[in-house]
């Protein structure tokens, strides 16, 4: 279980104090919702360890995540941007952060409408949606049990979006991943059978 306990964060003294308190069961999917600028991405960065909380705790099972450095947290995070190294090919980018065989990764990518020809391309040679699928595949297939996705389907067309949701739900279920997503799309909650968490 992921437990966010009275977690508080403030960018600077004059800014609003952000406050979070909720929990998610292991193996389930939760979607963070709320208006832009309310602190959804901030929460993902707090859980991943890129921002220091001023108060409160983050527990993954019995493990206190808030005391661990980024590298020691069991977290895989999809950023809103800059998920791929621009000077490395897609194949090289896909192989980072895990030890799975390339064929397995490629199979997932093709499942999401990807193409083997992408492998030799550089990120900038792909469209935003194509890059997002590459990053999504890598993030989810890494061995970390807790997956944080910041607007993972935002650049996808409706058809690909539906495919991607299905793949994410199936993969997360079969590999017992706990997912926390940021999304503005109500269909995501429905199709992913997700627990909504409203941030106010």
């Amino acid at each position: 279980m992921l437990r966010i306990n009275q977690l508080k964060f403030q960018y600077k003294k004059s800014a609003n104090l952000l406050s979070y308190h909720f929990s998610i069961n292991t193996g389930s999917i939760a979607i963070l919702q709320g208006i832009s600028g309310i602190g959804k991405t901030t929460l993902l960065h707090l859980i991943a360890g890129f921002l220091p909380a001023s108060q409160g705790e983050i527990y993954w099972h019995q493990q206190a995540l808030h005391r661990l450095p980024v590298e020691k947290r069991p977290v895989s995070l999809l950023f809103q941007q800059n998920n791929l190294f621009e000077h490395l090919t897609i194949a090289e980018n896909l192989q980072l952060g895990h030890k799975l065989p390339p064929t397995q990764i490629l199979a997932s990518l093709i499942h999401l409408g990807g193409d083997a020809r992408w492998l030799t391309a550089y990120p900038r040679q792909l469209s935003g949606g194509q890059q997002q699928r590459v990053a999504l595949v890598r993030t989810l297939m890494r061995p970390e049990p807790l997956v944080l996705l910041d607007e993972p389907f935002s650049e996808l067309d409706p058809q690909t979006r539906t495919n991607a949701r299905q793949w994410v739900a199936t993969y997360a279920h079969t590999h017992k991943k706990t997912l926390l997503l940021v999304s503005h799309d109500p269909q995501d909650i429905e199709q992913l059978d997700a627990q909504p968490i409203y941030i106010t």
Partner: protein
Amino acid sequence: MLARYFSWFAYLPIGIILLMAFLGLSHFNHDISWHLLQDTYIINILSFSIQQAILSSLASVVLGYLSARILFYGQCKKFRKIFLSLCLLSFILPSFILISGILSLFGAQGILQPWLPADWQLYGLSGILIAHLWLNFPFALRIFSINFQAIDHTSWQLARQLKFSRWQLFCLLEWPRMRASFFGLLGLIFLLCFNSFAVVLTLGGGPKSSTLEVAIFQALKYDFNLGEALILSWLQFGIASLAFLISLKLGKLVWLSSGEHQAPSIFPVSRFTFFSSHIFYIGLCLIILLPLIALLMQIELSDLVNYAWLSLLEPLVYTITLAGITALLAFLMTSLFLPTFTSTWQNTSYFLACIGLLTPAMVIAVGVYAYLLGKQVSWFTTPSLWIILINTLLTLPYLVNQVRSPYIVYHQHYNHLQRQLKLSFFKKFTIATQWLSPYWFIGTLVTFLFALGDVSVFAIFGQSDSPTLPWLIYRYASTYKLADAAITSWVLLFICILFVFLLEHYLQAKYEVSIYAKNQST
């Protein structure tokens, strides 16, 4: 984290050389009479140094800007890449080559002599300005041209859509993009001209038009007046630091980028504008090439036959070795500096790395010289070592400026990602190196070219029996062996051309990786 702490140790050699220089400068305190500052000779030198630097930098930047504007709006695109390479070449060119060229053009037996006014005097302010303009104006032109091309295509479209007048275009689109470069260039060229040594030494023509840098050299080498040299050095350091800080505050200069990018034509050009700007373009090419052509014309077949080619071999090998080791050292030091550029002390680290631009070559050379003299260290047994060390410090800013920004961008974009992916140190290092390698290569090449043209440090530490190529040119030119000076200049020029084309090749490769692919879709 450990690497970052370790990186600070890399500044130790800089600190040691600076400390030696400053201890050296303050060592002979008892000889220093600050009354010298009221001396009319010193005041004249000081005001002339500032005056020529202001005039040279203003003229170079304004002319560069206006010319770039004419070429851009006149859509002069033919041979643009070669033209911009030529502009870069004239900036990186060892100044003695250009000086030989200017002497062949405007000198007493110069090609243009018959057309010059009867009372024409090359030596003095006119000669210095001509040389500084030739060295720096093409470079300013290159920077502005690239800036013009870098303005977004959609911004021009939007401007046309909104029916901007020429004045609005200038105020709202052009100037905001050029302002930072304009002041950055002004500061950089002021510093270069203020610290200019070779040009003033050769074309100054006497105490009336001497600069601080040359006065230091003369006080030290000819009058053996260490006290005066030290006071002048402090003065030079103070003013250069001030200029550096002002330019750091006002301007920003990305001074080496590819000239390959070409924005599509946005504005319709009238036939008249098109032709007149192309004639201007051809004129510019000729003007920039003129000193080099004049150098060629100076050489006759008999000169080539009589030239002591074998005696060139040793200075050639010596020059390339010195420059090569300097570039290598600068490369090693910069790679160690890198982690400090993203630390909380990043401004301090940048300032320290750029101190070579802040302290003029002559000041450091004189300081270290004075220190070694005071400690009775027999520096003359290892002159090359000191030349290399001081030149490394002086050329470091060029390499640091080339690599620092890409590294910071890399860090901003990917630091979170690589931490998130839990990459090993080795993997992080390999990926970062892949990203930085073109910038490394370009920066090291530039460092090499600058070290190749060094005169100031050699003037203090060098041995006359083993000269470098630039010093050999100076020696030939000062003994009126103009043909020999021309041949030697062309040898050095050939090396520079070779490296500038290599440089452009890599700039283009870097550009292709980072931008060209953007609009390509598989």
